[in-house]
């Protein structure tokens, strides 16, 4: 047990943090795309699209992220597809969170009042125009708070990628734990770093939410 000041540990940990941020950013990008596609698929009028979206969402929500990661990393090579750890990590993080995000997108679209759809029909908008110009712009703001939670889960799941040897924050912490035996200091710093990123993410998302809802009343009826 040692209580030496942990400043010397910061540089390597910050390098790991950089990797963690890359993983998170890549995962979020993929997550948003998949959430949008699958969420729209779930409310689509075309049955095969709906089935496809449902199968994707159920599979990735029904199994754990770590199992998915192992499957992508250890099983895919059997099929001749070897992914670099970093790529496998981003793929799994995005696919896993995208399934949760799809539910957020679906919920937000369905939460837009029915009257909006009727007004659009009465004005002659096509179903596609109604979705993209009337429903989605209103749904986006109500998507942000639950999406923020999905992103934070993604950030937390990114730690799992260390077990397939991506040199992220968790991986670096494990290495230095074994080297320096300053376990308490290392894991405390790591916890604080993850927490800081999570707080940053959630603050950023609420800022975005405030910006987007400025001047507009998206609740429907004015109080």
């Amino acid at each position: 047990m040692s209580f030496a000041p942990p400043f010397d540990l910061l540089p390597p940990l910050l390098v790991g943090l950089g990797k963690t941020l890359q993983l998170t950013a890549g995962g979020i990008l993929l997550c948003v795309l998949l959430a949008l596609f699958a969420g729209l698929g779930k409310v689509s009028g075309i049955p095969p699209l709906r089935w496809l979206a449902n199968i994707y969402v159920e599979i990735f929500r029904g199994t754990s992220a770590l199992v998915q990661l192992f499957w992508f990393f250890f099983v895919l090579p059997f099929f001749g597809v070897s992914l670099e750890p970093m790529l496998a990590g981003i793929l799994v993080l995005g696919l896993n969170s995208g399934a949760y995000g799809a539910e957020v997108v679906r919920g937000a679209i369905q939460a837009v009042s029915h009257g909006q759809k009727e007004a659009a029909t009465a004005l002659g908008f096509t179903p596609r125009q109604t979705l993209w110009r009337i429903l989605l712009p209103q749904a986006v703001v109500s998507m942000l708070p639950p999406m923020s939670n999905v992103f934070i889960e993604l950030l937390k799941n990114s730690a799992l990628v260390s077990v397939i040897s991506v040199h992220d924050l968790t991986f670096v912490a494990q290495i230095h734990r074994a080297d320096s035996l300053r376990t308490t200091a290392i894991f405390s710093i790591v916890l604080v770093l993850y927490f800081a990123v999570a707080q940053g993410l959630s603050r950023g998302m609420s800022f975005l939410e405030k910006r987007l809802s400025r001047g507009r009343d998206l609740g429907g009826v004015k109080a």
Binding site: T63, K156, L160, S162, T170
Partner: protein, 227 residues
């Protein structure tokens, strides 16, 4: 990315049948860890939410930050923290106990939010009515508010039970021989075949999740109708 299309993977049914009993038996460890972890979380969450609702500012504020901190950091790191740090202070337990503690702590923060949402959903008029009837605050909370808060709490807890079940595979990283450890470290690296064990684990989880989620949805509808 390495694309080598040489190996033609073949699903081996005989192998799959051979390892299934071993996986199912390891699933018992997974289920045990989940149930124990959830029992901890049910109480831990209640403790945290009572801290948060406390009239003592420092207590409610530390409750808030505890919840935020536990929810804002990875379960894996919390697991490592318990596994590697606690023994340094003389708190040595088995990997299984460490795992259950970490699961319980992590999900306490989620359960606290579940309780909070349930309590907030009880109409304000109920508190006011209790005050008008001169109920002491503690009595009000335990005999009037909590029973009304439970219907929405039950299905939400169910969802977190399923989530914890899926997260319990993280215990494999600290050598608990639950189902994923068995699939990857016992079977996979021994036999050099990951396809069947890992796919079977995925399928087992999928089956349990789908059934549980369908059950929770039915329960939810049942509770809604009773209102």
């Amino acid at each position: 990315m390495n694309l080598s299309l040489a190996t033609g993977a073949q699903w081996d049914w005989a192998f799959a049948w051979e390892i299934l009993p071993q996986l199912l038996s390891a699933m018992r460890v997974t289920v045990t860890a989940t149930l124990l972890g959830m029992s901890l979380a049910v109480f831990g969450g209640l403790l945290l939410v009572m801290m948060r609702r406390s009239h003592i500012k420092t207590l409610s504020r530390s409750g808030y930050w505890t919840i935020e901190f536990i929810r804002g950091t990875p379960l894996l790191i919390q697991l490592y923290f318990f596994y590697y740090v606690l023994p340094e202070y003389g708190l040595q337990q088995s990997a299984m106990v460490t795992g259950v503690l970490a699961l319980g702590l992590h999900y306490s923060s989620y359960m606290a939010e579940v309780y909070r949402a349930g309590i907030d959903a009880v109409p304000k008029g109920q508190w006011e009515a209790a005050t008008a009837l001169n109920f002491p605050p503690k009595r009000t909370f335990f005999t009037l508010i909590l029973p009304q808060a439970i219907p929405p709490i039950v299905p939400a807890s169910g969802n977190y039970l399923v989530a914890m079940f899926k997260d319990s595979v993280l215990l494999s990283t600290i050598t608990v021989t639950e189902v994923l450890y068995t699939a990857r470290d016992d079977i996979g690296s021994d036999r050099f075949r990951y396809l069947e064990p890992l796919t079977l684990v995925g399928v087992l989880f999928l089956i349990v999740s789908l059934i549980s989620v369908a059950g929770i949805r039915r329960l939810e509808r049942h509770l809604e109708k009773k209102r």
